[in-house]
Symmetry: C2
Subunit: 251 residues, 2 copies
């Protein structure tokens, strides 16, 4: 019987809590899900059953639950991601071909840069970004470009969030950041060395849509010793411009 304190959350919240439990893409057992979503076992069991019946989650032979194809298909149809990705892919591929390093496409989501796409040459520097991951705005090439073209309020929030200094070159002070962002706006390009990843430098540029607003950023992360080569700045700028044009932007 239902004696004790009833959960404050609605059914929907509980279902979403279950979805969140899978945010890292792991495979989880019933007990793990129940623990992460803070649900009683019996409730988690029933709700997981509903997810599985729908197809959003699947239950493996080992009894573990994992994200199903249905959720994957739903996700990849997200209009922003899809539109940007399809417009950008050819340019990103060209960029990959001419540099053989990491090529990124990212959008801003709150205080993070979310990576929509990453193509990588086989000997590229090891980096932590991957498709779907979210890295801080102040410490990545794409992030700084997106921040430079976001509202003043976003910068305030970033500063208020106590930005972490990953490496000596990571900017965290308001004054330095403001100078850097102004520079990015005037150059239309961000260039930095070892801001987030040791041994790497980045070049990033903004992508605009038909309304002229900056909606994404393209970047290359390459070995620091290749920093002098001119094709990086040139290639990133051309790719960003190409994608913008494909999105309907007219200078």
């Amino acid at each position: 019987m239902a004696g004790g304190a009833r959960d404050e959350r609605s059914v929907a919240d509980k279902l979403f809590a279950i979805a969140d439990a899978f945010a890292a893409g792991e495979e989880l057992t019933l007990s793990e899900v129940a623990a992460r979503a803070r649900l009683p076992l019996s409730t988690a069991h029933r709700l997981l059953g509903e997810w599985v019946e729908w197809g959003g989650l699947v239950r493996g032979d080992d009894g573990r639950y994992r994200l199903g194809m249905k959720l994957w298909r739903l996700g990849v149809r997200q209009p922003t991601a899809r539109r940007l990705r399809s417009a950008a892919l050819p340019y990103l591929e060209d960029l990959l071909e001419s540099t053989r390093e990491h090529v990124h496409l990212a959008v801003r989501d709150g205080l993070g840069a979310v990576y929509l796409e990453r193509l990588s040459g086989r000997d590229a520097v090891p980096v932590i970004s991957e498709v779907g991951s979210r890295l801080p705005l102040h410490a990545t090439g794409v992030g700084l470009v997106l921040l430079a073209h976001a509202g003043e309020d976003v910068l305030h929030e970033v500063l208020a969030s106590n930005p972490r200094k990953y490496l000596p070159n990571t900017l965290t002070e308001e004054r330095e950041l403001r100078i850097r962002l102004a520079e990015i706006r005037s150059l239309g390009l961000s260039q930095a060395v070892e801001e987030l990843t040791r041994g790497a430098f980045s070049v990033a540029a903004p992508v605009r849509d038909a309304s002229g607003e900056v909606v994404a950023a393209v970047s290359i992360i390459a070995h620091v010793e290749r920093r002098g080569e001119p094709q990086f700045a040139l290639g990133v700028r051309m790719a960003a411009r190409g994608i913008s044009t494909a999105l309907g932007w007219r200078p």
Copy 2:
């Protein structure tokens, strides 16, 4: 007040019905969602609010709802898709570079081939496949490869589902299909001309994981007049083999 016949569905089913309404990736108004999910306006309104609060859906300035970044991020972390995609990308890129046509990676999901990835040369034939779409097993290169290595029961279901004859070369008869599938198994390759798309031919090969099971298929769709060129069969076979090896397969 709640007079009339109450909906048989559970809250979860209603939430899922709303998610399904967005399966095509469109932007929908409240009334459209309510109609598609067969929910009263007030109920749809409330449930949409919960989705938005969670971040799975976002409400645009025009009042329309669309899939949000959260669902996109959840989806791209689907383990099967992610594992296959990251193992396959370098090989798919090489294939693209050497052919400049459409390069596909697909898995089987029920009676369909779901496209995990598609890279396309700029002058490639127009095809209907796109990432996330699901095409019938019997009418595509990847589909036939996946069908050839699926259980007898899957073939039965396909035959029972009254497979459509898209073009004169589409196989729909049990006898023809069985011969074709046997051939695909013995050759380790599927080659076909104008099965689903006019003016195109396809070459597809199976991808195996560490257990030796066929888990995906790679294909190229190219202009029919390039059909004689040897790099297609060779390239697809090498890519499939490379991806399999990356997945831990040992011959």
